[in-house]
Protein backbone atom coordinates (compact mmCIF):
# COMPACT_ATOMS: atom_id res chain seq x y z
CA UNK A 1 0.00 0.00 0.00
CA UNK A 2 1.44 3.36 -0.91
CA UNK A 3 0.72 6.27 1.38
CA UNK A 4 -0.31 9.55 -0.14
CA UNK A 5 2.76 11.67 -0.42
CA UNK A 6 3.66 15.05 -1.75
CA UNK A 7 3.89 13.53 -5.20
CA UNK A 8 6.40 15.20 -7.37
CA UNK A 9 5.82 15.89 -11.00
CA UNK A 10 8.79 13.69 -11.76
CA UNK A 11 6.21 11.13 -12.88
CA UNK A 12 5.68 13.16 -15.98
CA UNK A 13 8.69 14.79 -17.58
CA UNK A 14 7.93 17.99 -19.50
CA UNK A 15 6.33 17.41 -22.88
CA UNK A 16 9.44 18.60 -24.71
CA UNK A 17 11.42 15.61 -23.37
CA UNK A 18 9.77 13.00 -25.63
CA UNK A 19 8.49 15.39 -28.31
CA UNK A 20 11.86 16.66 -29.47
CA UNK A 21 12.64 13.06 -30.44
CA UNK A 22 9.21 12.23 -31.84
CA UNK A 23 9.10 15.30 -34.08
CA UNK A 24 12.62 14.70 -35.45
CA UNK A 25 12.20 11.00 -36.26
CA UNK A 26 10.00 11.19 -39.42
CA UNK A 27 12.38 13.74 -40.98
CA UNK A 28 15.19 11.17 -41.00
CA UNK A 29 12.92 8.56 -42.59
CA UNK A 30 11.97 11.15 -45.20
CA UNK A 31 15.66 11.72 -45.89
CA UNK A 32 16.07 7.95 -46.31
CA UNK A 33 13.19 7.94 -48.82
CA UNK A 34 14.82 10.79 -50.77
CA UNK A 35 18.11 8.89 -50.85
CA UNK A 36 16.28 5.81 -52.14
CA UNK A 37 14.76 7.92 -54.93
CA UNK A 38 18.17 9.39 -55.77
CA UNK A 39 20.00 6.06 -55.94
CA UNK A 40 17.07 4.07 -57.33
CA UNK A 41 17.43 0.42 -58.36
CA UNK A 42 21.24 0.48 -57.89
CA UNK A 43 20.56 0.12 -54.15
CA UNK A 44 19.81 -3.53 -54.70
CA UNK A 45 23.27 -4.26 -56.20
CA UNK A 46 24.87 -4.94 -52.82
CA UNK A 47 24.13 -4.35 -49.14
CA UNK A 48 27.71 -3.13 -48.62
CA UNK A 49 27.28 -0.02 -50.79
CA UNK A 50 27.70 3.38 -49.11
CA UNK A 51 24.19 4.38 -50.23
CA UNK A 52 22.62 1.33 -48.52
CA UNK A 53 24.63 1.90 -45.34
CA UNK A 54 23.61 5.59 -45.23
CA UNK A 55 19.97 4.74 -45.86
CA UNK A 56 19.90 1.97 -43.25
CA UNK A 57 21.34 4.22 -40.55
CA UNK A 58 18.97 7.07 -41.36
CA UNK A 59 16.17 4.57 -40.68
CA UNK A 60 17.56 2.69 -37.69
CA UNK A 61 19.26 5.54 -35.85
CA UNK A 62 17.43 8.53 -37.28
CA UNK A 63 13.89 7.19 -37.17
CA UNK A 64 13.76 4.15 -34.90
CA UNK A 65 16.33 4.97 -32.22
CA UNK A 66 15.21 8.60 -32.14
CA UNK A 67 11.60 7.62 -31.42
CA UNK A 68 12.58 4.77 -29.05
CA UNK A 69 14.83 7.04 -26.97
CA UNK A 70 12.01 9.58 -26.59
CA UNK A 71 9.47 6.90 -25.74
CA UNK A 72 11.72 5.27 -23.14
CA UNK A 73 12.37 8.54 -21.34
CA UNK A 74 8.63 9.17 -21.23
CA UNK A 75 7.62 5.65 -20.23
CA UNK A 76 10.13 4.90 -17.49
CA UNK A 77 8.45 6.97 -14.80
CA UNK A 78 4.99 5.71 -15.72
CA UNK A 79 5.49 2.00 -16.26
CA UNK A 80 8.62 1.38 -14.25
CA UNK A 81 7.91 3.94 -11.52
CA UNK A 82 11.44 5.23 -11.95
CA UNK A 83 11.92 8.61 -13.64
CA UNK A 84 15.09 9.53 -15.49
CA UNK A 85 17.04 12.03 -13.39
CA UNK A 86 17.60 15.45 -14.99
CA UNK A 87 15.26 14.41 -17.81
CA UNK A 88 15.22 17.82 -19.51
CA UNK A 89 18.99 18.16 -19.65
CA UNK A 90 19.51 14.53 -20.65
CA UNK A 91 16.91 14.75 -23.43
CA UNK A 92 18.36 17.99 -24.77
CA UNK A 93 21.93 16.67 -24.72
CA UNK A 94 21.09 13.31 -26.27
CA UNK A 95 18.96 14.94 -28.97
CA UNK A 96 21.55 17.59 -29.81
CA UNK A 97 24.22 14.91 -30.17
CA UNK A 98 22.17 12.32 -32.06
CA UNK A 99 20.70 14.61 -34.73
CA UNK A 100 24.01 15.85 -36.20
CA UNK A 101 25.60 12.47 -35.39
CA UNK A 102 23.19 10.60 -37.69
CA UNK A 103 23.63 13.21 -40.44
CA UNK A 104 27.43 13.07 -40.29
CA UNK A 105 27.36 9.27 -40.27
CA UNK A 106 25.10 9.14 -43.34
CA UNK A 107 27.20 11.84 -45.04
CA UNK A 108 30.41 10.01 -44.19
CA UNK A 109 29.07 6.83 -45.75
CA UNK A 110 27.87 8.62 -48.88
CA UNK A 111 31.01 10.62 -49.60
CA UNK A 112 33.47 8.17 -48.07
CA UNK A 113 35.22 10.93 -46.15
CA UNK A 114 36.83 10.04 -42.83
CA UNK A 115 36.27 13.35 -41.01
CA UNK A 116 32.45 13.26 -40.88
CA UNK A 117 32.76 9.67 -39.67
CA UNK A 118 35.07 10.70 -36.84
CA UNK A 119 32.69 13.49 -35.89
CA UNK A 120 29.79 11.04 -36.05
CA UNK A 121 31.67 8.68 -33.74
CA UNK A 122 32.06 11.39 -31.12
CA UNK A 123 28.50 12.67 -31.46
CA UNK A 124 26.71 9.31 -31.60
CA UNK A 125 29.02 7.67 -29.06
CA UNK A 126 28.54 10.61 -26.68
CA UNK A 127 24.78 10.84 -27.19
CA UNK A 128 24.15 7.14 -26.73
CA UNK A 129 26.48 7.01 -23.73
CA UNK A 130 24.60 9.82 -21.97
CA UNK A 131 21.31 8.09 -22.77
CA UNK A 132 22.56 4.67 -21.63
CA UNK A 133 23.86 6.02 -18.32
CA UNK A 134 20.77 8.10 -17.55
CA UNK A 135 18.30 5.38 -18.50
CA UNK A 136 20.51 2.64 -17.05
CA UNK A 137 20.48 4.29 -13.62
CA UNK A 138 16.72 4.66 -13.79
CA UNK A 139 16.32 1.00 -14.82
CA UNK A 140 18.58 -0.16 -11.98
CA UNK A 141 16.33 1.64 -9.51
CA UNK A 142 13.12 0.20 -10.99
CA UNK A 143 11.36 -2.84 -9.58
CA UNK A 144 12.98 -5.98 -10.99
CA UNK A 145 9.85 -8.10 -11.11
CA UNK A 146 8.35 -5.99 -13.88
CA UNK A 147 8.73 -7.81 -17.24
CA UNK A 148 8.80 -4.48 -19.09
CA UNK A 149 11.74 -3.34 -16.95
CA UNK A 150 13.53 -6.61 -17.69
CA UNK A 151 12.90 -6.19 -21.42
CA UNK A 152 14.14 -2.61 -21.31
CA UNK A 153 17.32 -3.62 -19.45
CA UNK A 154 18.14 -6.25 -22.05
CA UNK A 155 17.28 -3.80 -24.84
CA UNK A 156 19.64 -1.21 -23.35
CA UNK A 157 22.42 -3.81 -23.07
CA UNK A 158 21.77 -4.70 -26.72
CA UNK A 159 21.98 -1.02 -27.65
CA UNK A 160 25.33 -0.79 -25.85
CA UNK A 161 26.58 -3.86 -27.77
CA UNK A 162 25.29 -2.47 -31.08
CA UNK A 163 26.85 0.94 -30.46
CA UNK A 164 30.21 -0.52 -29.40
CA UNK A 165 30.37 -2.75 -32.48
CA UNK A 166 29.25 0.19 -34.62
CA UNK A 167 31.97 2.43 -33.20
CA UNK A 168 34.57 -0.26 -33.92
CA UNK A 169 33.35 -0.47 -37.52
CA UNK A 170 33.26 3.31 -38.01
CA UNK A 171 36.73 3.70 -36.55
CA UNK A 172 37.91 1.02 -38.97
CA UNK A 173 36.21 2.90 -41.80
CA UNK A 174 37.70 6.27 -40.92
CA UNK A 175 41.21 5.24 -39.85
CA UNK A 176 41.53 2.22 -42.13
CA UNK A 177 43.12 0.01 -39.50
CA UNK A 178 43.25 -3.71 -40.01
CA UNK A 179 40.11 -5.36 -38.61
CA UNK A 180 39.89 -9.14 -38.68
CA UNK A 181 36.51 -10.34 -39.93
CA UNK A 182 34.79 -6.98 -40.34
CA UNK A 183 31.95 -8.74 -42.16
CA UNK A 184 31.33 -10.83 -39.05
CA UNK A 185 31.50 -7.73 -36.88
CA UNK A 186 28.97 -6.09 -39.20
CA UNK A 187 26.62 -9.06 -38.90
CA UNK A 188 26.95 -9.01 -35.12
CA UNK A 189 26.31 -5.24 -35.13
CA UNK A 190 23.13 -5.47 -37.15
CA UNK A 191 21.82 -8.52 -35.32
CA UNK A 192 22.28 -6.88 -31.91
CA UNK A 193 20.70 -3.74 -33.28
CA UNK A 194 17.67 -5.25 -34.97
CA UNK A 195 16.84 -8.32 -32.88
CA UNK A 196 18.32 -6.94 -29.66
CA UNK A 197 17.75 -3.23 -29.35
CA UNK A 198 14.59 -3.08 -31.50
CA UNK A 199 13.22 -6.58 -30.85
CA UNK A 200 13.75 -6.65 -27.09
CA UNK A 201 12.40 -3.14 -26.58
CA UNK A 202 9.29 -3.82 -28.63
CA UNK A 203 8.72 -7.06 -26.69
CA UNK A 204 9.19 -5.41 -23.29
CA UNK A 205 7.05 -2.38 -24.08
CA UNK A 206 4.30 -4.48 -25.68
CA UNK A 207 3.52 -6.17 -22.36
CA UNK A 208 2.24 -2.79 -21.18
CA UNK A 209 1.06 -0.88 -24.21
CA UNK A 210 -0.78 -3.63 -26.10
CA UNK A 211 -3.25 -4.44 -23.26
CA UNK A 212 -3.44 -0.76 -22.25
CA UNK A 213 -4.03 0.93 -25.60
CA UNK A 214 -5.41 -1.92 -27.68
CA UNK A 215 -7.66 -3.24 -24.89
CA UNK A 216 -6.53 -6.83 -25.21
CA UNK A 217 -6.15 -9.40 -22.43
CA UNK A 218 -2.71 -9.46 -20.77
CA UNK A 219 0.15 -11.45 -22.32
CA UNK A 220 0.45 -14.95 -20.81
CA UNK A 221 2.74 -15.03 -17.77
CA UNK A 222 4.93 -17.72 -19.30
CA UNK A 223 5.75 -15.40 -22.21
CA UNK A 224 6.35 -12.26 -20.18
CA UNK A 225 8.67 -14.19 -17.90
CA UNK A 226 10.79 -15.93 -20.53
CA UNK A 227 10.65 -14.34 -23.99
CA UNK A 228 13.04 -11.42 -23.46
CA UNK A 229 15.40 -13.52 -21.33
CA UNK A 230 15.49 -16.29 -23.93
CA UNK A 231 16.09 -13.90 -26.82
CA UNK A 232 18.91 -12.14 -24.98
CA UNK A 233 20.55 -15.44 -24.00
CA UNK A 234 20.30 -16.69 -27.58
CA UNK A 235 21.88 -13.49 -28.90
CA UNK A 236 24.78 -13.97 -26.46
CA UNK A 237 25.21 -17.60 -27.48
CA UNK A 238 24.96 -16.73 -31.18
CA UNK A 239 27.64 -14.05 -30.74
CA UNK A 240 29.91 -16.46 -28.90
CA UNK A 241 29.62 -18.91 -31.78
CA UNK A 242 30.76 -16.26 -34.23
CA UNK A 243 33.96 -15.83 -32.27
CA UNK A 244 34.88 -19.44 -33.04
CA UNK A 245 36.97 -20.15 -36.11
CA UNK A 246 34.95 -20.55 -39.31
CA UNK A 247 33.91 -24.14 -39.89
CA UNK A 248 30.89 -26.06 -41.09
CA UNK A 249 30.00 -27.16 -37.54
CA UNK A 250 30.22 -23.60 -36.24
CA UNK A 251 28.00 -22.35 -39.06
CA UNK A 252 25.43 -25.04 -38.38
CA UNK A 253 25.44 -24.34 -34.65
CA UNK A 254 24.99 -20.62 -35.36
CA UNK A 255 22.10 -21.45 -37.66
CA UNK A 256 20.45 -23.58 -34.96
CA UNK A 257 20.77 -20.78 -32.37
CA UNK A 258 19.53 -18.28 -34.94
CA UNK A 259 16.51 -20.50 -35.56
CA UNK A 260 15.75 -20.58 -31.85
CA UNK A 261 15.94 -16.76 -31.70
CA UNK A 262 13.60 -16.57 -34.67
CA UNK A 263 11.20 -18.93 -32.88
CA UNK A 264 11.17 -16.60 -29.86
CA UNK A 265 10.33 -13.58 -32.01
CA UNK A 266 7.72 -15.56 -33.93
CA UNK A 267 6.12 -16.66 -30.64
CA UNK A 268 5.92 -13.00 -29.65
CA UNK A 269 4.34 -11.97 -32.97
CA UNK A 270 1.82 -14.83 -32.87
CA UNK A 271 0.91 -14.13 -29.23
CA UNK A 272 0.36 -10.46 -30.06
CA UNK A 273 -1.85 -11.28 -33.05
CA UNK A 274 -3.83 -13.70 -30.90
CA UNK A 275 -4.34 -11.16 -28.12
CA UNK A 276 -5.46 -8.61 -30.69
CA UNK A 277 -8.07 -11.05 -31.98
CA UNK A 278 -9.42 -11.33 -28.42
CA UNK A 279 -9.79 -7.61 -27.81
CA UNK A 280 -12.95 -6.39 -26.16
CA UNK A 281 -13.70 -3.49 -28.47
CA UNK A 282 -14.45 -4.67 -31.97
CA UNK A 283 -14.06 -1.50 -34.03
CA UNK A 284 -10.71 -1.19 -35.76
CA UNK A 285 -8.25 1.42 -34.76
CA UNK A 286 -5.21 2.84 -36.54
CA UNK A 287 -2.74 1.68 -33.89
CA UNK A 288 -4.19 -1.81 -33.87
CA UNK A 289 -3.92 -2.04 -37.66
CA UNK A 290 -0.35 -0.73 -37.62
CA UNK A 291 0.55 -3.38 -35.05
CA UNK A 292 -1.19 -6.19 -36.94
CA UNK A 293 0.63 -5.15 -40.09
CA UNK A 294 3.86 -4.95 -38.08
CA UNK A 295 3.47 -8.46 -36.61
CA UNK A 296 2.60 -9.97 -40.01
CA UNK A 297 5.66 -8.25 -41.52
CA UNK A 298 7.81 -9.54 -38.67
CA UNK A 299 6.65 -13.12 -39.27
CA UNK A 300 7.33 -12.83 -43.00
CA UNK A 301 10.75 -11.25 -42.36
CA UNK A 302 11.63 -14.10 -40.00
CA UNK A 303 10.61 -16.76 -42.52
CA UNK A 304 12.65 -15.07 -45.26
CA UNK A 305 15.58 -14.53 -42.89
CA UNK A 306 15.64 -18.20 -41.93
CA UNK A 307 15.30 -19.30 -45.55
CA UNK A 308 18.19 -17.03 -46.55
CA UNK A 309 20.44 -18.27 -43.75
CA UNK A 310 19.63 -21.91 -44.43
CA UNK A 311 20.39 -21.46 -48.12
CA UNK A 312 23.65 -19.71 -47.30
CA UNK A 313 24.75 -22.52 -45.00
CA UNK A 314 23.73 -25.04 -47.64
CA UNK A 315 26.09 -23.15 -49.89
CA UNK A 316 23.86 -21.96 -52.70
CA UNK A 317 22.64 -18.58 -51.64
CA UNK A 318 22.92 -15.00 -52.63
CA UNK A 319 23.73 -13.91 -49.06
CA UNK A 320 21.76 -10.73 -49.65
CA UNK A 321 18.39 -10.49 -48.07
CA UNK A 322 16.92 -7.14 -48.96
CA UNK A 323 13.35 -8.33 -48.70
CA UNK A 324 13.76 -9.57 -45.13
CA UNK A 325 15.49 -6.29 -44.21
CA UNK A 326 12.73 -4.14 -45.74
CA UNK A 327 10.08 -6.21 -43.98
CA UNK A 328 11.85 -6.09 -40.62
CA UNK A 329 12.75 -2.40 -40.60
CA UNK A 330 9.94 -0.74 -42.57
CA UNK A 331 7.27 -3.42 -42.19
CA UNK A 332 7.73 -4.36 -38.54
CA UNK A 333 9.76 -1.76 -36.64
CA UNK A 334 8.51 1.41 -38.36
CA UNK A 335 4.89 0.17 -38.18
CA UNK A 336 4.90 -0.50 -34.44
CA UNK A 337 6.68 2.79 -33.67
CA UNK A 338 4.32 4.69 -35.97
CA UNK A 339 1.28 3.01 -34.42
CA UNK A 340 2.45 3.75 -30.90
CA UNK A 341 3.18 7.39 -31.70
CA UNK A 342 -0.51 7.76 -32.60
CA UNK A 343 -1.45 6.74 -29.06
CA UNK A 344 1.38 8.26 -27.02
CA UNK A 345 1.40 11.68 -28.69
CA UNK A 346 -2.30 12.57 -28.28
CA UNK A 347 -2.34 10.99 -24.81
CA UNK A 348 0.59 13.08 -23.62
CA UNK A 349 -0.88 16.24 -25.06
CA UNK A 350 -4.16 15.48 -23.32
CA UNK A 351 -2.33 14.79 -20.06
CA UNK A 352 -0.19 17.93 -20.10
CA UNK A 353 -3.15 20.13 -21.05
CA UNK A 354 -5.23 18.51 -18.32
CA UNK A 355 -2.48 19.44 -15.91
CA UNK A 356 -2.00 22.97 -17.23
CA UNK A 357 -5.56 24.08 -17.80
CA UNK A 358 -7.08 22.93 -14.50
CA UNK A 359 -10.64 23.72 -15.50
CA UNK A 360 -9.78 27.16 -16.94
CA UNK A 361 -10.57 25.86 -20.42
CA UNK A 362 -11.88 22.59 -21.81
CA UNK A 363 -9.21 20.05 -22.71
CA UNK A 364 -9.65 18.71 -26.26
CA UNK A 365 -10.17 14.95 -26.53
CA UNK A 366 -7.82 12.47 -28.22
CA UNK A 367 -9.68 12.62 -31.55
CA UNK A 368 -9.57 16.41 -31.62
CA UNK A 369 -5.85 16.35 -30.88
CA UNK A 370 -5.07 13.68 -33.48
CA UNK A 371 -7.93 13.37 -35.99
CA UNK A 372 -8.63 9.87 -37.31
CA UNK A 373 -8.81 10.68 -41.07
CA UNK A 374 -5.25 12.07 -41.14
CA UNK A 375 -3.90 9.02 -39.33
CA UNK A 376 -5.74 6.66 -41.70
CA UNK A 377 -4.44 8.40 -44.80
CA UNK A 378 -0.88 8.07 -43.55
CA UNK A 379 -1.44 4.46 -42.54
CA UNK A 380 -2.61 3.51 -46.04
CA UNK A 381 0.41 5.18 -47.63
CA UNK A 382 2.62 3.11 -45.34
CA UNK A 383 0.68 -0.09 -46.03
CA UNK A 384 1.18 0.46 -49.77
CA UNK A 385 4.84 1.46 -49.42
CA UNK A 386 5.99 -1.62 -47.49
CA UNK A 387 4.89 -4.34 -49.98
CA UNK A 388 6.35 -2.32 -52.86
CA UNK A 389 9.61 -1.85 -50.96
CA UNK A 390 9.77 -5.57 -50.28
CA UNK A 391 9.04 -6.46 -53.90
CA UNK A 392 11.68 -4.01 -55.09
CA UNK A 393 14.18 -6.58 -53.79
CA UNK A 394 12.94 -8.81 -56.63
CA UNK A 395 12.29 -6.12 -59.22
CA UNK A 396 14.46 -3.08 -58.35
CA UNK A 397 12.62 -0.40 -60.43
CA UNK A 398 9.76 -0.72 -57.93
CA UNK A 399 11.97 1.23 -55.53
CA UNK A 400 10.74 4.46 -57.18
CA UNK A 401 7.02 4.17 -56.36
CA UNK A 402 7.92 2.51 -53.04
CA UNK A 403 10.22 5.32 -51.93
CA UNK A 404 7.72 7.95 -53.14
CA UNK A 405 4.94 6.39 -51.09
CA UNK A 406 7.18 5.88 -48.05
CA UNK A 407 8.41 9.48 -48.25
CA UNK A 408 4.84 10.77 -48.60
CA UNK A 409 3.81 8.68 -45.61
CA UNK A 410 6.59 10.21 -43.51
CA UNK A 411 5.65 13.75 -44.62
CA UNK A 412 2.11 13.05 -43.51
CA UNK A 413 3.29 11.50 -40.22
CA UNK A 414 5.35 14.62 -39.48
CA UNK A 415 2.38 16.80 -40.44
CA UNK A 416 0.05 14.85 -38.14
CA UNK A 417 2.48 15.04 -35.21
CA UNK A 418 3.11 18.75 -35.76
CA UNK A 419 -0.63 19.47 -36.01
CA UNK A 420 -1.17 17.71 -32.69
CA UNK A 421 1.68 19.66 -31.13
CA UNK A 422 0.10 22.89 -32.43
CA UNK A 423 -3.14 21.97 -30.65
CA UNK A 424 -1.07 21.62 -27.49
CA UNK A 425 0.62 24.99 -27.92
CA UNK A 426 -2.63 26.76 -28.75
CA UNK A 427 -4.35 25.44 -25.63
CA UNK A 428 -1.31 25.76 -23.38
CA UNK A 429 -1.47 29.52 -23.92
CA UNK A 430 -4.79 29.56 -22.06
CA UNK A 431 -3.19 28.18 -18.89
CA UNK A 432 -3.00 30.33 -15.78
CA UNK A 433 0.53 31.70 -15.51
CA UNK A 434 1.06 30.76 -11.87
CA UNK A 435 2.16 27.16 -12.09
CA UNK A 436 5.12 26.31 -14.27
CA UNK A 437 5.51 22.76 -12.90
CA UNK A 438 4.43 21.00 -16.04
CA UNK A 439 4.69 22.38 -19.51
Amino acid sequence: MSLPSGLSFAQAPPITVPFRFFLSAPLFALLAALLALWFGPSLMDSRWQPSVLALTHLMTLGFLTMAMVGAMMQMLPVIAGSPVAHAVGVARTVHLLLVPGVLFLAGGFLWGWPWPMRLAMALLGGGLLVFAIAVGVSLMRAASDNPTVIGMRFALAALAATATLGLILVSNFSWKWWLVGWMRVTNLHLTWGLLGWVGLLVIGVSYQVVPMFQLTPAYPKLLTRWLARALFALLLLWSALWLLPEAKAQEQAALAVGLAAVAVLAAFALATLRLQSQRRRKQSDVTLLFWRFGMASLLLALVLGVAGQAMRVAGNAPGENFMAAFLFIAGFAVSVVNGMLYKIVPFLIWFHLQSLLMGVAKVPNMRQIMPEPGMRRQMWLHFLAVPLLSLSALWPPLIYPAALLFGASMVLLEFNLMSAFRVYRKHAKLAPKTDPQIT
Binding site: M1, S2, L3, P4, G6, L7, S8, F9, Q11, A12, P77, V78, I79, G81, P211, M212, F213, L215, A218, R280, R281, K343, F347, W350, F351, Q354, S355, M358, M366, D435, Q437, I438
Partner: protein, 85 residues
Amino acid sequence: MSREHILDVRGLEPPEPLERALDAAAALQPGERLRMIHSREPCLLYPLLAKRGFQHLAEAKAEDHHEILIWRRGDAEAAPFGLTQ
Protein backbone atom coordinates in the same frame (compact mmCIF):
# COMPACT_ATOMS: atom_id res chain seq x y z
CA MET B 1 -19.22 7.21 8.43
CA SER B 2 -17.97 8.42 5.06
CA ARG B 3 -19.88 7.66 1.89
CA GLU B 4 -18.00 5.95 -0.91
CA HIS B 5 -18.63 6.03 -4.66
CA ILE B 6 -17.32 3.15 -6.73
CA LEU B 7 -15.80 3.92 -10.13
CA ASP B 8 -14.75 0.90 -12.16
CA VAL B 9 -12.64 1.96 -15.15
CA ARG B 10 -11.31 -1.45 -16.16
CA GLY B 11 -11.43 -2.01 -19.89
CA LEU B 12 -11.52 1.65 -20.84
CA GLU B 13 -9.06 3.16 -23.26
CA PRO B 14 -6.66 5.85 -22.02
CA PRO B 15 -7.23 8.62 -21.15
CA GLU B 16 -10.84 7.71 -20.29
CA PRO B 17 -9.99 6.19 -16.88
CA LEU B 18 -8.24 9.40 -15.85
CA GLU B 19 -10.97 11.59 -17.32
CA ARG B 20 -13.69 9.72 -15.43
CA ALA B 21 -11.74 9.75 -12.19
CA LEU B 22 -11.13 13.51 -12.41
CA ASP B 23 -14.82 14.15 -13.18
CA ALA B 24 -15.99 11.88 -10.38
CA ALA B 25 -13.53 13.44 -7.93
CA ALA B 26 -14.71 16.93 -8.85
CA ALA B 27 -18.28 15.87 -8.08
CA LEU B 28 -17.46 14.64 -4.56
CA GLN B 29 -19.53 16.25 -1.81
CA PRO B 30 -18.12 16.89 1.68
CA GLY B 31 -17.72 13.59 3.51
CA GLU B 32 -17.62 11.58 0.28
CA ARG B 33 -14.74 9.71 -1.27
CA LEU B 34 -14.15 7.77 -4.45
CA ARG B 35 -12.97 4.19 -4.83
CA MET B 36 -11.50 3.81 -8.29
CA ILE B 37 -10.98 0.26 -9.58
CA HIS B 38 -8.41 -0.09 -12.36
CA SER B 39 -6.43 -2.87 -13.97
CA ARG B 40 -3.11 -1.03 -13.45
CA GLU B 41 -1.80 1.65 -11.17
CA PRO B 42 -2.73 5.01 -12.72
CA CYS B 43 0.59 6.75 -11.97
CA LEU B 44 -0.23 9.73 -14.15
CA LEU B 45 -3.50 10.36 -12.34
CA TYR B 46 -1.74 11.20 -9.08
CA PRO B 47 -0.08 14.47 -10.10
CA LEU B 48 -3.38 15.60 -11.68
CA LEU B 49 -5.25 14.80 -8.47
CA ALA B 50 -2.66 16.48 -6.26
CA LYS B 51 -2.83 19.62 -8.35
CA ARG B 52 -6.61 19.74 -7.97
CA GLY B 53 -6.45 19.39 -4.20
CA PHE B 54 -7.19 15.68 -3.83
CA GLN B 55 -5.38 13.01 -1.87
CA HIS B 56 -5.23 9.34 -2.70
CA LEU B 57 -4.34 5.99 -1.28
CA ALA B 58 -3.58 3.12 -3.64
CA GLU B 59 -3.70 -0.57 -2.95
CA ALA B 60 -2.87 -3.44 -5.30
CA LYS B 61 -5.37 -6.25 -4.63
CA ALA B 62 -3.90 -8.28 -7.47
CA GLU B 63 -1.57 -7.62 -10.36
CA ASP B 64 -4.49 -6.52 -12.52
CA HIS B 65 -6.71 -5.13 -9.78
CA HIS B 66 -5.80 -1.83 -8.19
CA GLU B 67 -8.05 0.19 -5.92
CA ILE B 68 -7.42 3.86 -5.39
CA LEU B 69 -9.22 5.85 -2.72
CA ILE B 70 -9.57 9.53 -3.58
CA TRP B 71 -10.81 12.31 -1.31
CA ARG B 72 -10.64 16.08 -1.02
CA ARG B 73 -7.62 17.30 0.91
CA GLY B 74 -8.71 18.41 4.38
CA ASP B 75 -11.98 16.48 4.34
CA ALA B 76 -11.40 14.54 7.58
CA GLU B 77 -14.72 12.73 7.32
CA ALA B 78 -13.96 11.36 3.83
CA ALA B 79 -10.34 10.43 4.55
CA PRO B 80 -9.89 6.66 5.03
CA PHE B 81 -8.44 5.35 8.29
CA GLY B 82 -8.55 8.86 9.72
CA LEU B 83 -5.75 9.96 7.41
CA THR B 84 -5.60 13.72 7.45
CA GLN B 85 -2.17 14.36 6.05
